[in-house]
Symmetry: C2
DNA sequence: GAAAATATGTTGAATTTTCAACAAAATGAG
DNA sequence: CTCATTTTGTTGAAAATTCAACATATTTTC
């Protein structure tokens, strides 16, 4: 587990917990690390929601597929971030979403019950862990506010621009990479891929932005 | 505060806490109750996010208004439910949404810091309170999954039907009331009011549903 | 490096939504 | 009860999206 200490130190779940303490804690929590190739499913829709996931390297997508086969991407979780914690904490029976590796990724899996209920060894920092989990859950809610802010726009152009503004703000500049290819961006914005491509072309001709694959620059 | 004990007993935030203990706790938390008339603002977008709200009677809407004045309704919070907890727990500077009374409502307001940090009197059930708050936050995240599941549909008809299915499931039957008038339902589904009215008419003519104001029956 | 597979861009037709304007119905005030 | 206000339903035109089909890049595989 030692090789993961660096990335875990950046994980909001372990904020304020020292490396030595963290190592002991991981044992106590029964943490396991697993490797997933691109497009492999980490948690499947419908499976029991008992585990919290942490991305050690790479990234995963949280996706939903409706009755007609339309995919909707709810969010992308990058290295150091936590996923599936809401379902585990809310104690829902089945996962309402799937978690799929976005690229070759290492994933740490922890049984949620181990986090919520203090173990017999009474880890000193358990209280901190629970506090961190709470802040993480609150932050997740706000992530969804962002997505709703974007997808509540009525046109493809408005959705795209709202999304790019958010990304620019996050990147701290007008030039940045997005974690989506065109189809995925369409599935995140809840629009048609072809219409999205057309809109990107139009915005480039208008001189509003430049885009080459996953790299965008707002002008 | 005694008159609120009944409804507070149903609030997920106070699950597992007895009435006597709850009364003491409310003092300790500095809880205040306030009355709001319909359409009055409980928390305004842009204000400091320090407080957790609990609906004692009536209901409130969580709304967002974009640059062009389009309102989007994120959720409706009914009696016994908690709101604004995510922003307070995530320690965001400004509220990204407004909270508006949906009808004449009594609201309890608690400073979030009082919940997160154990008070000097060391309330015995503080641990339970924090645990409850965590589960509440997790449940909120899932509420947003539901909304995204609905609004990710591409047509007004599909959005409406997805919404009504959810409501029927919640009501445990095919006949139920919704907490929205037509304009509000449109703002929740992220569609045009006129288009929504037309779609409801069409579905009635097709014999798929019956609707009179806020009451719907799926056939 | 060539072939195959995947991703992206382009287009026109069909569908759907939005917008604006107005009619009808329901609600509220006095 | 009546008038004023608000809500809901209806409609047609304009705008936008979806869909399907194909052209063009780009990436992957052998």
């Amino acid at each position: 587990m030692k090789k993961y200490l660096n990335i875990l130190g950046k994980c909001p779940l372990f904020f304020g917990i020292g490396q030595d303490e963290l190592l002991r804690m991981l044992v106590c929590l029964g943490a396991k690390a697993e490797f997933y190739d691109k497009k492999y499913t980490v948690f499947a829709e419908g499976s029991r929601a008992k585990y919290i996931g942490i991305v050690l390297s790479g990234s995963v997508q949280i996706t939903q597929v409706d009755f007609y086969g339309n995919r909707s991407i709810l969010s992308v979780i990058g290295a150091g971030q936590v996923f599936a914690e809401a379902f585990a904490c809310a104690e829902v029976e089945e996962m309402p979403v799937s978690v799929v590796a976005n690229e070759p990724s290492e994933i740490m899996i922890i049984e949620c019950a181990h986090v919520l209920h203090t173990c017999e060894n009474r880890c000193a920092f358990h209280r901190q862990l629970i506090f961190n989990l709470m802040k993480d859950l609150a932050t997740k809610t706000i992530t969804f506010h962002k997505k709703i802010d974007i997808t509540s726009k009525r046109t493809t152009r408005e959705k795209l621009m709202a999304y790019l503004m958010h990304e620019a703000k996050r990147a701290g500049g007008n030039s940045f990479d997005i974690p989506f290819d065109r189809q995925e961006l369409a599935d995140y914005l809840e629009v048609e891929r072809s219409g999205l491509s057309a809109e990107i072309s139009k915005l480039q001709k208008e001189g509003v932005l430049e885009s080459r694959k996953k790299h965008f620059t707002l002008l």
